[in-house]
Every structure is written in structure tokens, then in C-alpha cells.
Assembly symmetry: C2
Homo-oligomer: 218 residues x 2
């Protein structure tokens, strides 16, 4: 399931590959049945070793969860840089690029599974939520906010609140996935992130109203 390069190692002795195998097993089980309802013995069995061996690589069950998040999180600092790099002179193009980055990232179920688990276990393991925040959101959110700020500075975007507008930009994607993953609620035309993004971009570009009249300051 994990590595088809070794032909048939009846009793495998490859300490280096083990931690990743354990993490793979844990992720799929956590995603499927939740952290609390997954026993270390099940993780071990799925990974193809014994319970005791798991504890050679991870000091506790929670450490497995931590390792999982850490492994998922490390490439993201890179992505945040990519986010900055994709900024072009054309704010519209930048926005499109941003969405395509998000869509391709979150399209992979394995990537999506980690934040799902983190959100579920945030109450029980606040340190993990904090780590996820530190390693992901503290990189990605400021980068994205900065893009908006630049768009305003360059005169292409209207003078909206960058932080709040960021929520207006990514919010729809999150609910879309939330409704689908948790409640199995999918639009009639299917769960197409691309369609959602297309419709959402249209709204961001033009608003929802036909007539531009009506000044609406509070």
C-alpha cells in the first residue's frame, strides 16, 4: 500500500520507512473513524506492524497526531511563498491564480483530511490546533491579506477591509467542502469546486446585483 519497490520482505526491517507508514495508517483511520475511536492497535495493524513497534517510533498516541500534522504542514510554508510569488500586476489574474492554488491543494483528499482532523480534535488537543495555526494560518493568511492590500494600493480593488475581505474570498470554498464532507449536501450540479469558484469569481468581480445604484454605507 505504501511502497511497492521492495518485492516481498516477509519480515521487514526498515526502520526508516516505518514512521511514514504509521502516519499513513493513522491518517486514514482518523479521517474515517475519528481520533478517539481509533486504537493504537488498529493503527499498528493497518500499518503492518505490532502495537509495541509503534511505540518505538512515537512516544504516545497524541504524538502520532502531532507527527501527522507536522508532516502535512511542512510543505505549506513553501506554498505561502508561492502565494506571494504569484502576485501579478493584474489583480484579477492574481485572484484566479489564488483560487487555482487553493482548488488544487484542497482537491487532494489526503491534504484535506488533516485540517478536518485538526478541527475535530482542536478542543481536546489545543496545542495541535495552535501548531496548525502557527505553521499554516500565520503564514498563509498574512500573505493573502497582503495580496488584497496591494490590489487596493494599486488602485484596482475598491477600499475594502483586507482581513474581512479575505473571509469573503475563501469562505465559500470552506462551506462548500464542509456541507459536502460533513452533511453530504451537494449542489444539484454536483460537487465541482471549479464551478463554485467560477460563480464566486463572477460575484467578486461584479457583485450580485444588476443595478449598481443604492449607496449602502452604515
Amino acid at each position: 500500500m505504501t511502497d511497492p519497490d521492495s518485492p516481498e520482505p516477509k519480515f521487514r526491517r526498515r526502520a526508516e520507512a516505518r514512521p511514514d507508514e504509521v502516519l499513513d495508517a493513522a491518517l486514514s483511520l482518523f479521517d474515517e473513524k475519528g481520533y478517539a475511536h481509533t486504537s493504537v492497535a488498529q493503527i499498528a495493524k493497518t500499518a503492518g506492524l505490532s502495537k509495541g513497534a509503534v511505540y518505538l517510533y512515537f512516544p504516545s498516541k497524541q504524538a502520532i497526531l502531532e507527527g501527522l500534522v507536522r508532516r502535512a504542514v511542512s510543505p505549506i510554508a513553501t506554498r505561502a511563498q508561492a502565494l506571494v510569488d504569484l502576485t501579478s500586476d493584474d489583480a484579477r489574474a492574481t485572484l484566479r491564480a489564488l483560487f487555482s492554488l487553493i482548488a488544487t491543494s484542497l482537491g487532494d483528499p489526503k491534504v484535506l483530511a488533516v485540517p478536518k482532523v485538526v478541527i475535530r480534535e482542536a478542543v481536546v488537543a489545543p496545542e495541535i490546533a495552535a501548531m496548525y495555526r502557527r505553521e499554516v494560518f500565520d503564514h498563509v493568511l498574512p500573505a493573502a491579506t497582503e495580496i488584497i492590500r496591494q490590489g487596493i494600493a494599486s488602485g484596482q480593488l475598491r477600499p475594502v477591509d483586507p482581513e474581512l475581505t479575505l473571509r469573503s474570498i475563501i469562505g465559500p470554498i470552506v462551506v462548500h467542502l464542509l456541507l459536502a464532507e460533513i452533511f453530504d449536501i451537494v449542489p444539484e450540479n454536483g460537487l465541482s469546486l471549479d464551478q463554485l469558484i467560477e460563480n464566486h469569481l463572477d460575484i467578486l468581480f461584479h457583485g450580485v446585483f444588476l443595478s449598481p445604484e443604492g449607496s449602502t454605507d452604515a
Copy 2:
């Protein structure tokens, strides 16, 4: 806390008030520590009775969770009706009214706590997620979608996809709360739902761009 009419009932004997007391205790504990990490004994202690007594009112721990959701859910069908009723000729006013309904509902932490718990336990207790879907989303989402559809039919809204646009409308509120509740990420200007809604309405009304140029059909 519940009934100040009996002065000092050292050993209280009021079977009628009990279930609600148990649910109150359970909600605060589930919200705080999660379902799995809350024992029935703790719920009992918090509610001020013994473990055995809890089982006089609820056949199982899961039934407590069900009761919690059921109690929270029952007023919502009414709200969905209110949602239909608030539809006016002015689509802008309708949208504002919709948001103010959402903001006042979700502003109450006790109301918000229930869907939070449901989302967390959805994997473990899919029947409960299904019930929540049936009793809440299956009423609220179609009602809201219909409002959008009417706005399009009356020529006030641009011909967007109603189902996807609904996600563009409510999405920002959900992420806003998600970021705040789970990751403690709050905008510089504070966690003000009103400000977020104001900014979001502005975007929905006018889009984010200054220049209306650039036709962007897929």
C-alpha cells in the same frame, strides 16, 4: 438556575425539570471538552444528580447528544418560515434582513455550540449529522436559495447560480466563526460579526473591483 420558586430544595425531586438540566450540563461540557472526553458521571455531577438518575431520563450517552440536538433544532423550522416571510420586494433589504437573522442567531454561544458539537461528532455519530441536516439544512438552505431565485426572477439580481451563490453569501460568516472559535484567529479590529457582514454586503453589492471592465465567462 432554572426555577427560583422553590426556596431551598435540599434534595430536589422535580422530574420535569431534570432532562433540561442534564442537557444544559451536557452542552457546556461537550462544547468545552468534546463528547468523547466527557463522562456521564461528569454530566451528572454538573447537573446536580447522580449517574444513575441520568439514565432515568436518557437511555444512553448518545441519547443525550440526540436530545441536545433535537432541543436546539426544533425552533429552527420556525426560523426558516421567518426567512421566507422576510422576503420583500427590495432584494437588498431582504439580504440585509437575512444577515441580521443569521447574526443574531449565531451570536448566541449556546446556539452556536450545538452545530459545533455536531460537526465534531459527525464521523462518530452520522445519524446525528443526518438528523441535523434533515431538521436544519433541508429547511434553511432551500428557503434561502429560493430567495436568491426570486431576486433573479424579479430582475434585481444577476443570473448567478442560486445554490452556489448561497455559499458565497454564508461562507464568510462560517469561516469567520471557524477561525475564531477553533484557531483563535480574530481580525485586528476584533471579532465583530456586524463589521464582517457590512464589508461582505459591500462586496456582494459592488464586487471587489473598481473598474467594471473585463468580461469573465468561462
